[in-house]
Amino acid sequence: MRVNKPPLDDNSEPRDLTTLRKGESAVLDHIDLPEDDARRLMELGFLPGHLVTSAHAAPGGDPKVFRVDGSEIALRRETARHMFLRRAETQA
């Protein structure tokens, strides 16, 4: 687990969804998954440019529930780690 990452600078790797701590929000940047999976995730609200908030999780922290576009969707770690967040300076 990458918990205590130093503040991001421009050259660092983009953070993925799994690094969001409970209650933390960030803007989704892109989804690195095959097209029809990405499409379904977008239909569920995981749209680039939209805010994602990490909510509750199953015991052990996987799967995790994310609040996005008015609903709560649970994703497994294996999916969430392919979804990347926009860098800190662009966060609202």
Partner: protein
């Protein structure tokens, strides 16, 4: 009860053609609630030809004795189908569904508390060009949480009528009925299409929906506070699993112990009425067929009805309240270890009562491969019909000695061992399936957590009625046929006009014929007969052995235990237990698997696999025990 007619049936009476209206919407928008509200008991379940997806058809009575047919379609997020369910919705709406014509109108039902996202579905639906009513559901929730929307403006923007309703409370439903008469009986020139985005581009569609939302002054409601509070408990790192465990225990206890008195009562009723008929009818072959064959044969399956209803009551409450999604979330990691997912958990748990309702309960699993894998392993779980067989054989061959003080005896340990054996076989099979034929093609697990809601009696009642009809229709057809067949096998051919001894009947002949094949397991022809009759329901073997040994045929009968002990070697007894733990040995399960998978392919594979599994391990058990003793 008034059974609904097929569309081509009597409904054509009042009009030259019957009108068909489809209900479409995203999952959790309240489609079924509205459907139930509009049709009530005038509905039936059906399967489309060639697919396993079930759909509900129902009639709505309008004024002047007119009526329209409603079809409730599977929930979709868009018209780009990903699953079999979604393909059904797509095909019905585009008129490509075999056996159902293109609907005359569409009712699009959306959750008004989440309109931003749900409105996205309006774009592909409106572009179909059918008369469409936009229904904004959960109006009560929207108002209570301080949201609002200008429905007149929305109607103008989308060029379609809009109704704000609460399907669970019934408010605004009158408007929906008015639309139905309008749309199908007063043919109007088609309204010009609203300005629609390119429907293949999800972000563009979402932007369009947001724009419509802005123009209609949509104010999203405040977050559902109660849902968040409840999730704070139900998904709490410590209390969450604890509550989950209690719920599981509750389900288990109810379907196991709670259903017992009801099942015993039903059993007594079936037996009592059988005795009464026996006294009332003349003693002949027909009476025997009617009572020993049909009445007790079908009865041996119908006694499971209380268990099935209780289970579905539980599942109904869990699903309608929103807890089922949380339970699936909590169980997901454990289930992922055997290649399945959280939603497989409740069906597999139910299979400890009976595989039939468990297999019907797999409907909540959207992923088709996961669903089939769950269906295929469910019969390995130790169902309650195996218990009488286990009890009899264990008691006949194993003295009850304390193992761990007074708490755990040898017999209880053996029973527990058999439960574990079934579970292990299920895990092995699941892993085998999920790493070969049913390997999930990188389909990610996505599970929506709906807000918690109170389940309504209406929806629970209709669901129970629906499941009972499905189950009893099974009992009335397949199981009835099997009961008659088994009676013929055990009561014919006649000897001097009299029923033969069971050893001389067709069943006896088959028993003798299969004896060479089952001898390696340590079984003789008598067990062979039992294996055949137990296809009706596993516990029937107990009664059959009672008939063969001419002693009282119950698992508590000392006479039967002694007779079995004399007739069977310890190796054969161990093989019998193992065989019953693994073999499919249940026609009802096969029938329900056929229904749920849409053909004989999967039940045939399952039967062959489980029988081979049972045979191989039965053989092994026989050899091991014989060598050891």
């Amino acid at each position: 009860m008034d059974d609904c007619h097929a569309p081509e049936g009597s409904a054509a009476a009042s009009d030259t053609k019957t009108h068909l209206v489809a209900i479409v919407g995203p999952p959790n928008a309240g489609k079924s609630t509205l459907f139930n509200r509009l049709t009530g008991l005038r509905q039936k379940v059906a399967n489309f030809p060639g697919v396993t997806v079930e759909h509900h058809m129902g009639r709505v009575k309008l004024n002047l004795g007119r009526e329209v047919f409603l079809v409730d379609l599977p929930g979709v997020y868009s018209l780009q189908p990903r699953t079999e369910d979604e393909r059904v919705t797509h095909d019905v709406l585009s008129g490509d569904m075999q056996g159902l014509r293109k609907p005359d109108a569409v009712m699009l039902i959306l959750d008004s508390t989440n309109l931003g996202r749900h409105l996205s579905l309006a774009a592909p639906i409106l572009s179909l060009g059918l008369p469409t009513l936009i229904i904004l559901n959960m109006a009560d929730d929207l108002g209570r949480r301080g949201g609002e929307v200008n429905t007149e403006e929305l109607s103008k923007q989308l060029n379609a009528p809009v109704a704000l309703i609460s399907a669970s409370h019934g408010t605004g439903v009158q408007k929906v009925v008015e639309f139905l008469s309008e749309a199908v009986f007063h043919e109007k020139p088609k309204p010009p299409l609203a300005q629609l985005p390119i429907i293949y581009d999800v972000p563009k569609v979402r932007d369009w929906a947001a724009d419509i939302g802005r123009r209609t002054n949509y104010r999203p409601p405040a977050p559902p506070l109660w849902t968040r509070r409840l999730d704070g408990i139900f998904l709490h790192p410590v209390f969450g699993p604890l509550i989950f465990f209690l719920v599981v225990l509750g389900v288990f206890q109810t379907i196991f112990a709670g259903a017992r008195p009801l099942m015993d009562g039903l059993q007594a009723m079936i037996e009592g009425s059988g005795k009464w008929m026996e006294a009332a009818l003349p003693d002949n072959q027909l009476r025997s067929l009617l009572i020993d064959g049909i009445w007790s044969g079908v009865g041996s399956v119908v006694v499971f009805l209380p268990q099935i209803l209780l289970l579905f009551l539980f599942i109904g409450v869990l699903e309608d309240s929103g807890y089922l999604s949380r339970a699936a979330l909590i169980a997901d990691r454990t289930m992922a270890k055997i290649g399945l997912q959280g939603k497989s958990f409740i069906p597999l748990l139910s299979a400890y009562a009976c595989a039939v309702p468990a297999i019907m309960a797999t409907r909540t699993i959207e992923n088709k491969r996961d669903r089939i894998a769950t269906i295929l392993i469910a019969p390995f779980m130790t169902c309650s019909a195996r218990l009488p067989v286990y009890t009899l054989v264990i008691a006949a061959f194993m003295p009850d000695k304390p193992l761990l003080g007074p708490l755990l005896g040898t017999r209880a340990t053996a029973l527990l061992g058999l439960y574990i054996l079934g579970f292990v076989a299920a895990v092995i099979t699941a892993r085998l399936l999920k790493s070969t034929v049913l390997k999930s093609t990188r389909s990610p697990f996505m599970l929506e957590m709906p807000p918690y809601r109170w389940p309504t009696f209406r929806s629970l009642g209709l669901r129970l009625l629906d499941r009972s009809k499905v189950f009893l229709r099974r009992a009335g057809t397949v199981i009835l046929g099997v009961a008659v067949l088994l009676w013929v096998l055990s009561n014919l051919p006649l000897h001097d006009g009299k029923t033969p001894e069971i050893g001389d009947s067709f069943a006896g002949m088959i028993g003798h014929a299969v004896e060479p094949a089952i001898r390696p397991l340590g079984f003789n022809w008598k067990i062979g007969i039992g294996l055949i009759t137990s296809l009706a329901a596993r516990e029937v073997i107990v009664g059959t052995l009672g008939t063969i040994y001419a002693v009282e045929g119950t698992s508590e009968s000392v006479g039967l235990r002694e007779a079995l002990h004399m007739d069977l070697t310890p190796g054969g007894a161990a093989a019998l237990l193992v065989f019953f733990a693994f073999a499919m040995q249940c026609v009802s399960t096969m029938a329900v698997v056929r229904r749920e998978t849409g053909g004989w392919r999967w039940p045939a594979i399952q039967f062959a696999y489980m029988t081979m599994f049972a045979y191989a391990f039965g053989y092994l058990a026989n050899r091991l025990v014989t060598a050891w003793i």
